[in-house]
Amino acid sequence: MIAFLCLGLLLVTAGIFFRNALRLRLEEAWLCAALWVCVEQLFMVRGFAAFHRLQPASMLWACGLLIAVHLGAALYFQSAKRAAGGLELLRAYFPPWIALAALGTFAAIGLRLYIAWKTPPISWDGLCYHLPIVYRWVSQGDLSLQGWRGFQSFGALGSEMVFAWLALLDGGRLDAAKIGQVAAMPAFFAAGAVLGRRLAGPLWTGACALASITLPVVLVQLGLSYVDIFYGAYCLAALACAAVYDRTGRWIWLLFFTLSFGLALGAKSTAYLQAPLLLPVLWTFWARPELRRSMLRSALPLSILVVAVGGMYYVDNLRLRGNPVYPFIVNIPFYGQLPGVLRPSELLSAMEQWMVPKPIYWLWYPFREVYFGSVAFTLSNGFGPLFAAAWAAFPLALWRGWRLRNRSAAAFLWTFPAVLIAFFLFQPARAPRYIIFLAPIPIAGLAMLLRQVRGWARNLAQAAWAAGTLYACAASIGCMASSMEWKAAVGPLKSSGAVDARAYYRATFSSLGEAWSALDERLKPGDVVAINYGELMFPWAGLPPRAVVWDIPRKDSPYPETYGATSAGEWLGVLDELGVRYLGIWMPKWYADVGVGEEEAIAAYPERFTRLGEWNSGEFGRVALYEMKPSTRTAALPFPLPPGV
């Protein structure tokens, strides 16, 4: 809980500072604070990691110091003449119907977070790499991922750094990191508020802010260790900053546009669809000649800032491996191929068919959101009722923004089709979760249309808005409550107030859960566990995590500086060198060949392995757990172990 207390204090003190020092509107100061704190988190983690000092105590001290600095700076800039009171503004931003929606929203978010907090981490990608990466960083005290066998170590890891920041403030436990996407919600909320205020006025500010954070896909992901909310929040924040920059011409907004653009680049490796976010700023450059000079003068320093905040992953890949998006092979017309290991088409490109049979079906998908044929919200889909209404009204909003000659609104709204085009051209695995930030754009456009209604009609419009918001919350919670993951948690929570991790994983991951429980009974802190298949790696470290886990399949590795072993002897040599004590062999149902080579190697050296158990399930396949007898023979590793492991 200290982690979230620190986060809250950093936000509030930074918000007061920006409001006092820059005389910003309430929601604009909040947006700047939210973005600024994200940047601080990144630099704190990277700074301590550079000295191998990624430790709970140092992070706590640094946060305390930073809060004091924020507070001091805020008091220094405090003026005798007070800005418009926060309470009055809040009353204006949340008229009765919207205030009701706010109550429902915060209740839904509270319930969602409570269940997630009490439940062991469950999300697929979170267990595969987001949390194992954070666990490894926090246990070794730096950001090395040496030997990590997977494309993630070459990607943007800014969101994992925020998870690590939370984990360190949580004393090294991963409970706060497991719901770490909460840290992106202030920026998401504030960006929605800023856009609502600029496009539709104060009466729709709170409405747009709430609409942004009650997208069902956001409510589902909020309790999962994914990174889509981070990416969505930063992209929406970039658009909000661009809109305010166009309207006010204040350079500070160009700076915050740059920061959010850089944060988005570093949050998730999806740079290919971020380019259209530059369009509103380019439009400002073209339409406001008086700003050109300052924009040109700051272009170079701001570009360097983008790289420092989140672009360095791409620069490093280009410098070291000749391809900014390594390991993905890229074909550039008239140039050739950039080197890599994976073709983008090898990604899960069938994902789109989980939701629509053909791309054209996306046109009416928002009115009935299905997943594998049945109506559902998941971590991949769910944009909610307000988006459906906004989707229908979007052409009208575009036309209205254009006719009003409202450049910042028009530029903002045109970003929607521009990003959609980039998404359909460049993204092989198309799921709404990759473009969460797009949903609030038509929603703000709808608010812009509705701002013209007055009197009883406005009440009726705000009532519909509140109904849409509350329904999104109720349907998201309802949908999650009927899932197996929630059923397995809610029952024990109701009866005993706690969820037993072993029982929970046995209920949700059948054979794998059995193996994790059996391993957890034996595991001592610092034991080394090897697995043959890197998916769902995290629980192999124990419940709670306390072991070191290596993904060592018996085959060649396509990645530089990772362990590869083709023969049984070589494979055994690597396991010995790493000091492996337990071995988990998973033969997943969906890949017939995975696990076969390792089982053969185990059969060739029966004296070295003791089988502790074997479990089979129709859903996850066969899982076997072995204990390895220590060997006197050691093999030379292809590269040394990282420090602390």
């Binding site: 959101e369 209404a389 009204a393 109720a474």
Partner: protein
């Protein structure tokens, strides 16, 4: 004309919201598990 188009927008807004509720009504069933 302006007034008419505003009222039409408002009507359509409510209509889409209610239709959406109807299409997704099964999602509320999960509350039975929760309560």
């Amino acid at each position: 004309m302006e007034r008419f188009s505003l009222l039409l927008t408002l009507f359509l807004f409510w209509a889409v919201i209610l239709l959406y509720f109807w299409f997704h009504r099964t999602l509320l069933n999960g509350w039975k598990e929760l309560l």
